[in-house]
Symmetry: C2
Subunit: 206 residues, 2 copies
DNA sequence: CCCGCATCGGACACCCTGTCCGAACTCACG
DNA sequence: CGTGAGTTCGGACAGGGTGTCCGATGCGGG
């Protein structure tokens, strides 16, 4: 087996390119009409390939859905990582984190609704779609945990069980994102992020 | 058309009974394996009726799903209404509200996961399943709004835009419920409710 | 020029939905 | 007791989706 590296690499690039092509279409259609309402025929047609070709790249519908989620996961992490290092102040990081996620939703609300729906499927057949979403949650949770620990260390956050605090913060963010994913005409992300962040910091206390 | 009241009433009772029989089975199966993974055949078989008979009671799969959600909605409202009048103190009402919802989840976690999944479907075909869930949200939101207004009136809550405050509180509760619906071995609802409530009241502030 | 490879397109078996209808059963009424 | 209305059953049916398979086609590199 001779190296033949460049050729094989090219093939792989092409393969990835086509894969992404299908994923993009699937993500759009899933987002627009829901994962259950789009047939593989439609995806294939819209992507300009034969249905059987789609099955060359993805074993089945589930795997395609998982690939869609993975793509979104990566974009989300990129978005957040970008702004993460710009400010080490915990409260600011929190606000940036929230703003980043809201912006990601705004960039493709349909896609995020897709994620929410998949969230539902997770608890179901148990299929591997769940693992994709669990990864996202884990990554975000880690960021929150770090940020909280920093805040406690410098005395700006109340010191309670870190796991509980992380969970509660995460829940608030999750709720905020869910609502926004459904809202037709959302307010500016920066403003919402500021409100959510303020609420997390102070709650209803006078 | 003679009155014949008692007979017709009886028929209606029987009809409702059978309907509920199917709904119970459907709710269980939907909860266990997800709404998309259960066929009408299975539901009918498990309920001990012919598939065609199910279609006598429900026009289609969607209507059956909606009926399942409506049932859960009513149970939830009953649960909450029960404890609502026991204490007029806003903070206590909030905690009771949260506890009530957590208990409902614990009573039938599978069912709540079903609701979450349907939440996803809402944004999809747009079918009337959404209206069922929207009703639930509305009812809860009204309770929260009342409670918040009381708290502000008596000076125990910060006075901000009531809509925003209601929304933020609702988001926190929504997140907490979502997490709990997925947790395998949750802590006592009362304890979790207290934590969530405390977080809403004070946030991270020292 | 020819081989390998990706793609195509269509046939296939299987499953699910929603509709329909005739047959059997139940039960209240005359 | 007989009759008729209403209910259920079971199965047939069309339509549509999934996932598999395979022969045909086209293309690019050696």
């Amino acid at each position: 087996m001779p190296p033949r590296k460049s050729t094989d690499d090219l093939k792989e690039v092409i393969r990835d390119f086509r894969r992404d092509q299908v994923i993009d279409v699937a993500r759009r259609l899933f987002g627009e009409r829901g994962t259950t309402e789009v047939s593989m025929d439609e995806i294939a047609a819209e992507a300009g390939v034969a249905r059987s070709t789609v099955y060359v790249y993805f074993a089945n519908r589930d795997e395609l859905l998982r690939a869609c989620l993975k793509g979104m996961h990566n974009q989300l992490l990129d978005d957040i990582a970008e702004s993460w290092e710009q400010d080490a102040e915990p409260a600011h990081r929190l606000e940036r984190l929230i703003k980043g996620m809201l912006q990601r939703i705004d960039a493709d609300p349909a896609f995020f609704r897709l994620a929410l729906m998949a969230q539902g499927s997770v608890s179901q057949g148990g299929e591997a779609v769940g693992t994709e979403l669990a990864l996202i949650s884990l990554n975000i949770a880690r960021l929150i945990a770090d940020l909280y620990a920093d805040g406690v260390a410098q005395g700006s956050f109340r010191d309670v069980d870190p796991d509980k605090a992380t969970s509660l913060i995460g829940q608030q963010i999750y709720g905020a994102m869910s609502v926004r994913a459904g809202e037709p005409l959302p307010e500016p992300p920066a403003m919402v992020a500021a409100e959510v962040c303020a609420f997390i910091l102070h709650g209803l206390s006078t």
